[in-house]
């Protein structure tokens, strides 16, 4: 019988059944005191990561992920088990959450003012997120923004920052004191590592923030900072493309996103310097009002 653990991650809680040492070790490193031996509390979602049974437990062993006893994905090689659990948690929330509008986006805040950073893979979103989170900004989420319907209010869902490939070296050099998971190699995203946000972000995980900006970041190695103001129609359509539960919430999501876009500044930026981006965000968006 695998051991059972509890992850208290506002606004959701997860019970995690596993007996894989690498998963337990990484959960402890990343989530610290929010990762507990199972307590008598009902979790929102019951997850499990197990070593596959039968011949696969001996030859090229694999990890299986279960959510509420369903197995939504095919098994992955055992060394990816922790990353598999993190992705499984993202999927679980994206597939089930309907109380808030969910955007595939990072969210960071200064005080009570938050900026959304929706972006496709490879845009440097997570590297920017890690930089800002370790330079005075508060991380609300690296992967999904939870927006309260018909408001500009974002509910934090603080989770580790998922860094890929070249970003791994950049982050380990920039944040030598950071709490990193083991590297999951050769995943569908390449090599992947998870970085725990600073304690200040965890401490504020129940404090909502109000959106003041939507910024679509693009990292280009040979491009100095370029900033384009996006028109509202464009920005809205790009947010819709990044919304996980838009097709379920429909009218509610439509009115929420129109309200957000109508009331925030919208930019697309191209950059090769994280500090310049941070300066722009602070001066032109956070301090604008």
């Amino acid at each position: 019988m695998p051991n059972s653990y509890f992850l208290d991650l506002h606004p959701f809680s997860f019970s995690v059944k596993t007996d894989l040492p690498q998963v337990i070790e990484n959960l402890s490193t990343i989530y610290g005191k929010r990762f507990k031996k199972h307590i008598d509390e009902v979790a929102d979602y019951e997850l499990s990561v197990q070593k596959s049974s039968g011949i696969r437990s001996f030859i090229r062993p694999q990890a299986c992920f279960f959510c509420d006893q369903q197995e939504p994905f095919k098994p992955l090689s055992l060394q990816k088990a922790y990353a598999f659990l993190e992705w499984g948690m993202n999927w679980t929330v994206a597939a089930n959450e309907v109380q808030n509008v969910i955007i595939h986006s990072a969210v960071l805040a200064k005080g009570n003012k938050a900026i959304l950073f929706p972006a496709p893979p490879g845009s440097g979103k997570s590297t920017l997120t890690a930089y800002l989170a370790h330079n005075g900004w508060r991380l609300l989420s690296d992967e999904m923004a939870l927006i309260v319907p018909n408001t500009k209010t974002v509910v934090p869902f603080v989770r580790p920052i998922c860094l890929k490939n070249q970003s791994i070296d950049i982050a380990t050099n920039l944040f030598p004191q950071g709490q990193f998971s083991n590297i999951a190699r050769d995943t569908h995203k390449g090599d992947v590592i998870h970085l725990s946000p600073p304690e200040s972000s965890w401490e504020n995980q129940t404090n909502t923030a109000e959106l003041v900006g939507v910024v679509f970041p693009n990292y280009r190695a040979n491009q100095d900072l370029q900033i384009y103001q996006l028109d509202k129609t464009q920005a809205f359509m790009q947010l819709v493309d990044n919304a996980f539960n838009y097709s379920v919430l429909r009218e509610t999501a439509f009115s929420t996103l129109t309200k957000v876009i109508e009331n925030v500044q919208t930019f697309e930026i191209f950059h090769n310097d994280l500090a310049q981006v941070a300066e722009f965000l602070e001066q032109e968006i956070i301090d604008y009002e």
Partner: protein, 80 residues
């Protein structure tokens, strides 16, 4: 604009005059149109869509075909 839209279609014109977004609540499909409210209403009601040139006509036909606009108001589209 409401008079031209089918039942279950929501719309919003943005304050920066960049255009309009529409949601068909039955199909879940969302489209954007890069016209102001005045220009869109004028286009639909005046029959300018008859000119059969440019992307604007395509936009209107698209809105009709996808169930956003009532085709009865768009003069001449059925003659296509």
């Amino acid at each position: 604009l409401k008079a031209f839209l089918n039942k279950g279609v929501c719309f919003h014109f943005f304050g920066d005059s960049s255009g309009c977004v529409l949601l068909n609540t039955f199909s879940g499909e969302t489209l954007s149109v890069g016209l102001t409210q005045a220009d869109l209403v004028k286009l639909i009601s005046s029959g300018q869509a008859n000119d059969k040139t440019g992307a604007t006509l395509d936009t209107i036909i698209n809105l009709v075909n996808k169930g956003f606009l009532k085709s009865i108001y768009v003069q001449g589209l059925n003659a296509e």
